[in-house]
Symmetry: C2
Subunit: 169 residues, 2 copies
């Protein structure tokens, strides 16, 4: 798990604003999470299953990679994929180049379900409506800059692949 050295962060006392932003983020995270689980449940998927399915929109992928992206143990993925497979949402294919590897691929049903779920994710559509156009743009820029620093850690985000432009590297 702790594959991250987690650079020792200077113990500088967090300033008030940062503190508050972190709290606001926590609220946002909770909100988003709830919406996501709800939207998944509405399609009788669990959050974890929906995440895996979302990941597979980019194409087939080894289990190992899924586990890494989701920061969890590979043995965990086995079960999740089992359940998805038994419902016809994904398949396991053999990798041509390495017979140890199993490539998980979304079936059409899986793809559809995932896309549909993504569309239904109106998270922040309402919260975001409270902002004006240029404010949204400002927010976008600030968020972009924040994420740029972090590196492509994991686009694991449930709904993480629309950005055509991607973060300006």
């Amino acid at each position: 798990m702790d594959t991250q050295p987690t650079e020792v962060v200077a113990p500088q006392p967090t300033d008030a604003i940062t503190r508050e932003v972190v709290d606001l983020m926590a609220n946002l995270v909770a909100l988003f999470h709830r919406e996501y689980e709800e939207a998944a449940a509405a399609r009788s998927l669990t959050g974890a299953q929906a995440k895996v399915l979302a990941l597979l929109r980019r194409g087939p992928m080894p289990m190992r990679h899924i586990a890494q992206t989701l920061s969890c143990e590979p043995s965990n993925i086995t079960g999740i994929v089992d359940r998805l497979e038994s419902r016809g949402f994904v398949t396991r294919e053999a990798d041509q180049h390495d017979r140890r590897v199993k490539l998980v691929a979304a079936t059409e049903a899986g793809s559809d379900a995932s896309e549909e779920l993504r569309e239904s994710l109106n998270f922040a559509r309402e919260p975001l409506a409270a902002l004006g156009d240029d404010e949204r743009a400002t927010l976008r820029d600030l968020l972009r800059r924040m994420l740029d620093g972090v590196g492509p850690g994991a686009p694991a985000g449930p709904a993480a692949s629309t950005d055509p432009a991607g973060p300006a590297a």
Copy 2:
């Protein structure tokens, strides 16, 4: 689940900026989530336990209220509080006015753990470092306004208290 009427949201096509903001949010959410779980685990707490403990920073609170805030079944809270209690992080007190109610209160150990965890949350300390002071302030204001519309329902701090700065756009 329960209290949510799940208003049918107008199917207005999401505009490009909103879409991108949502994706950025998703990434941020994933990042934050990982850090939170990790920080909790470092203190041998689970995410759910940490959330409950964080809620209790505001004072003792009936289980029912915890369940509502976390949007889960009350029976679920029973177990979580059980585990917290068995480790001396919270206590169950009787409510004076209503003997059906049990008030869950953080012990000093619980309070300390929660505060410590909160401090250690250097999420965004790094991402946020990419921003200047006034930019952080701008971000804070935008997030505040977004969350104001949604109503309370999230833990993690005094941030949820509404600050009716008229979003009269």
